[in-house]
Amino acid sequence: MFDLPLSALAARLRDRKVSSEELTRLFLGRIARLDPGLNAFITVDEDKALASARAADARLAAGKAEALTGIPIAHKDLFCAKGWKTTCGSRMLADFVSPYDAHVVEQFDRAGAVLVGKANMDEFAMGSSNENSFFGPARNPWDTTRVPGGSSGGSAAAVAARLVPAATGTDTGGSIRQPASHTGTAGIRPTYGAVSRYGMVAFASSLDQGGALGKSAEDLALMLNVMAGFDERDSTSIERPKEDYARDLAKPLAGLRVGLPKQYFTADLSADVAACVNAAIAELGRLGATTVEVSLPNQALAVPVYYVIAPAEASSNLSRFDGVRYGHRASGYADLDDMYRKSRAEGFGAEVQRRILVGTYVLSHGYYDAYYLQAQKVRRLIARDFTEAFRDCDVIAGPAAPAVAFPIGAKSSDPVQMYLEDLYTISVNLAGLPGLSVPCGFGAGGLPVGLQVIGRHFDEARMLNVAHQFQQATDWHRRRPPGID
């Protein structure tokens, strides 16, 4: 039961073969048993979960169920959920209980999904390993000495270990796709503006986008059907008709043109990952797709540009955490400046402080033009590279991460090495494009590898179609980590 796709769970709930309460208890039991070794959750609330499960059962009984009614899920702990601690993996918000719901949380509540807990994450979504969490690192279910990736590491670990059937995440530079790749799960970051950012604690506003992690492309489509849609409370939310992301899943791939950026297949990519990704691309070929080499000439600039823009926005976004109205305030201080200094020095971890410092620097008088403005110009070039590439192809395929999951602690002393984890994902965020990752094999140490599929703006349905057809022909996504049954 715990391994069933969302559609099968929904069918059993509708047919009253299982109640939401039973299903919720099942997953709560798995969390109780397995999460102590994984630390995928920051908060689990049985009472709240069971109450919404019972409400979902009433709805099911009344025949008013929607696709996800009664299905347990987890939210990354930066989605504000009314009455829930919303910590962002930070000491700064360790005791912050949100008085309101994020748009995404509202959407899942409205759909009748059952929120069982808030997933671990890198502090304020800054990190690629989940090691930057004030609540300790989440662990990779495939090898608990390794990282699950990040920043949506808790969501990925929870889905990989089948602690929930699906979870939300956010992706600012690869924070859904990279952990999905590292944990053998499927993850999608939709087009910028497809999912409302209202109530999603901001890291880098022009790059942040909510998305989902699940076991399959089909599950991701069902999650997006709930999450995506216009919200007038987010001025960057794009007003367009509601769409069914599952509508094209069954389409054959014949005639599909898959672009392979030559800059993705270089010495930076480890051989084991390259082998899996190449095999996956060959599989797409067998399914009727043709491949074409494309070029993203400014690819090498994506990471440096990102590490100007994202910290710049973050330095401003995180200014509100000043200890005045909510969040951590130092217990003793001499004056106002001292209160700010102490509260923020105590409340924020090292990586967050590093990015605030970098961001403050690049926005400073005299440096703004050389860094921030220049980065914005290069950002436009990166976006244009994709526009050019999509003249010759329908989707772009490649790796989601340069190597398999690394051991906890291996990169913590070298931030730049950590930043290079997002080599293949970051340019997608800079261009505002949608990207997904689905399992496509196992590399060194028997650790999962993900295939990244990038689409044009609002072409999620086609990307999901590609991923679904791939999953119909392969069974990588059905493999489960050892020791979770």
């Binding site: 930066l78 989605f79 504000c80 919303t86 962002c88 918000l93 912050f96 949100s98 008085p99 309101y100 994020a102 950012r197 209202y198 109530g199 999603m200 604690v201 901001a202 880098a204 506003s205 022009s206 007038e232 409370r233 987010d234 001025s235 960057t236 710049a312 926005e313 330095s315 401003s316 995180l318 200014s319 509100r320 955490f321 000043d322 005045v324 109205r325 909510y326 106002l336 700010y340 403050t360 926005l363 400073s364 008088h365 703004y368 921030y372």
Partner: protein, 476 residues
Amino acid sequence: MVWEIVIGLETHAQLSTVSKIFSGASTAFGAAPNTQASAVDIALPGVLPVLNKAAVERAIRFGLAVGGRIAPRSVFARKNYFYPDLPKGYQISQFELPVVVGGEVLVAVDGAEKRVRLTRAHLEEDAGKSLHEDFHGMSGIDLNRAGTPLLEIVTEPDMRSAREAVAYAKTLHALVRWIGICDGNMQEGSFRCDANVSVRPAGSQTLGTRCEIKNLNSFRFLEKAIEFEARRQVELIEDGGKVRQETRLWDPQKGETRAMRSKEDAHDYRYFPDPDLLPLEIAPEWIESVRAALPELPAAMRARFAADHGLPEADATTLTSSKALATYYEQVVRGVGGEPKACASWVLGELSALLNRLEVEADASPVGPAALAGLVQRVLDGTVSGKTAKDVFESMAAGEGAADAIIEKRGLRQISDAGAIEAIVDQVLAANAKLVDDYRAGKEKAFNALVGQVMKASQGKANPAQANAILKARLG
């Protein structure tokens, strides 16, 4: 040495929207602390700003009223600094691309017209308030004001005296109220000025080092602060010193400005475009629909009153100092059916005195424009004398009814019948032989005394002009 003062003003006009610029919370003044602060205003984690179109519409109105250019695309930027009453740690403002560029305000100063050029006007949000009393060594924060929409109106350094600066500020104050974008309440901080002041030797073309005086919330303070600051700078330079660029605060108790922070400790605000808000795009159609709804502007109305109504410049200026007064005046003229000079004289005289006494605007006058027109007509057609009419006006103000009713009830109708006046004159002449003798002996004053007797005998109702003429004829 003769010195010239150079002044530029930055004015914050609070826009009269029902809700805040980026949230749905109310902008009403005076509510209990923090009761009008939404999740957005207190900057909870995850909240986002959504631009209030009504604030933009008011900015467009202003831009059109001053003949500025409405930017088809302007950008909201974040101004970053830490302060407890600034909940986000940044203020959303406009920096490189403001919504209104250029424009000018024509100001009447000492009978001449002065042109003050505007640099720009931009939209921004207000901060909250820090309360430093009543909290036993701690500070209280009230975020009701946080997010209130402001239009910051910046002039070129075009003013050359405190009088000019005040005249500009008063004209601008009247204008923003006229076009209905700001209530102009200076006590509540709805309209406040910062003054940039520098001095230079007369005839010099280069600007001196300026100081900015913050938060001048009355015209009197504005005038005094500029005068003080200019004097301070001149004395400093004449004593061999140099003006330091700095921000200064006006201390109304001591009547002086004092240094707040120097240029060196000025904040680096790290402005950058706010990624939570799309660039503000204003379509030409929007601008045109705002233009179509714009009322006749005070400058145009002033010119019309002078040219078409034949009013002196000063009267035209006073009548157009507020839209309520100008509207009132026009309604009186309409009610009377012309005679603008007589109408203006009543509006600027008795009515204005009444309004001042009651401290109300013309639109709240206890004597409405139609009622006043009724009275003015009775003066013009000779039913009552001007002097009697003033008493009638007071009775109308006291709520005793319309002019005609009061005149009838009290029998105040003027006696214009020649025969009746002649009879009274004859009586008076018979009873005052001494005065008649005095007059004939060349004492002009005696004539006035006789007129007084005639008026007294007629209980003030004799037509004064007729009484004069008849008296003169009889004595002649």
